[in-house]
Amino acid sequence: MAKGKVEIRIESCKSCGYCVKFCPKGVLAIGENVNQKGYQYVVAENPDDCIGCAQCGQVCPDAAIEVYREA
């Protein structure tokens, strides 16, 4: 059971890859599908590994990520 969860706002993502680089657990990856602006948005590839540390949200320049953690 994952300790955390990420929610990605697909239309805000510009595929810069900062969240993918800084996720300590390798949860995120750049997906294959594109959003309306034509960017390949980020997806949670391994959602079960998420620990809810929120580093992805902090580095995201476009505030596209919301993070949840087990209370």
Binding site: K14, Y18, V67, E70
Partner: protein, 251 residues
Amino acid sequence: MAMEKVYTRTTGIVKDMVSGFCPGCMHGTVHKLIGEVADEMGRANDLIRAEGIGCCGLGQKYVTHDSAICLHGRACAAATGIKRNEPDSLVYTYQGDGDLASIGLGETMLAANRGENFTVIFINNGIYGMTGGQMAPTTLLGMKSTTTPNGRIAEEHGYPIHMSEIINQLTAPYYIERTTCADPAGVRKTKSAIRKAFEYQAAGKGFTFVEIVTSCPTNWGLDPISALDFIKEKMLPEYPLGVLRDKGKEE
């Protein structure tokens, strides 16, 4: 088990709006941090932004607080007037290196010298962004730009300007710090620097200056991830991080 929201979009930027910044541009990160700090201080409605000219202008509709678009380089002069007339508000200028360190050098130095009670957020990415990648005062030696196609040469173009160090020569400024947004720890430090600057301003302490070393992947000709390495390998040795002055600690 119930999940608790630990990180969410700040109210300081417009809900559901996509910024006009390029992929990986750290203007977005800093806009977000300013909003987060204001949220945490409970002062989101008191913020007033005096904005420079350049890519930072793309943020004018992205932020939710009041803002003034100032003449090129004159944000510190405009902020002086705003703060003196609205002393209860939190006033900050948001300027890039071309705006603050080049055309606005005079206004910036004089506002700092007067110890005006507002915060300067200075985005240093070593290049002019919006106009198409020309050399800025902060461009590194050897760094290529559209106006220095063979790289910046000291004999022809002078040396990179260190704004934090220059302002540190003056007596009046209260708080000066240089940070970066190149990694999560840097983002958190930038946030605490902005918080400290806003708190000093709210306490009426005087001029606070936060220089943030960021990237411009588009005009550096790098992808966003390689631009992070460029910051660490090239920009930070020239612009060392740290608190240059904190009078609050001396008192």
